[in-house]
């Protein structure tokens, strides 16, 4: 069995990083410019940060965490609710931000 705990936490962290960077990018011009400076476009930088953080964290967490087979449901549900929460946060943020 794969180390689901490690992959779950990596997915959660990557999803949160992507969501937060999308929100901060809208609020801070300097942050947006620094993302743009890295690859030429903020979207590309955020996408690369998302996948690279997932891969690197998965490798690190697979070494740090021992597989926890007793709480598999907890980790998978946590990933589910984090992705759902990030979707709702992005939805609400852009609805209110567009009106501001």
């Amino acid at each position: 069995m794969k180390n689901i705990k490690a992959f779950s936490i990596s997915t959660i962290v990557s999803t949160v990083i992507i969501t937060l960077s999308a929100i901060i990018e809208e609020l801070s011009v300097s942050f947006k410019n620094s993302l743009k400076a890295l690859t030429g476009h903020p979207w590309i930088t955020q996408s690369i940060i998302g996948i690279v953080s997932f891969v690197i964290l998965s490798v690190i967490f697979c070494y740090i965490f021992k597989p926890d087979n007793k709480n598999l449901a907890k980790y998978i549900w946590s990933t589910f609710f984090t992705a759902l929460a990030c979707t709702i946060v992005l939805l609400l943020f852009f609805v209110f931000h567009a009106q501001a």
Partner: protein, 162 residues
Amino acid sequence: MVVITALTSTRWLVILHAALGEIGALSFLWVLAELINKQKKNYVRAKWVSLGGVIMFFTNWFLSGYYYVTQYKNLVEPAIKNTNFIWVSNIIMEIKVDIFKFIPILALFAFIVILSFPNWSSDNKIPRKSIYAICILIVFLGFIMVSFGYIVSATVRANLGN
């Protein structure tokens, strides 16, 4: 050469990225149906179909990214901005491009989870409901992308009058 020219044209990019995204989302609906049938052959199919779904989403990631960065910002956004439908660009498209960034990662996670249970048909300790939920979420988010994309396309067509 002709293929590359076609792939970089706006029309084909829109068609291809929409098709890949829809197939990717439908793959996880198929995976869900296979997993609900707790047979060994269904599990094997679910494994391969989820791998296919992951490949579709990652390929779509590159195509959509290329389209968004090169075509949308230069050709599509100006047709929406400065109209009554500016909310399509400021809300719908912004939400779409940001949610889209984590769908492939979520799909990859689902594939890894599915791969982790080779005894799917016989093991009663597998947290099946949570795995079904992840698949449903991927399908749901995939079709949110499709519907948002349709709204953007319809707005551009309405504004350009064709």
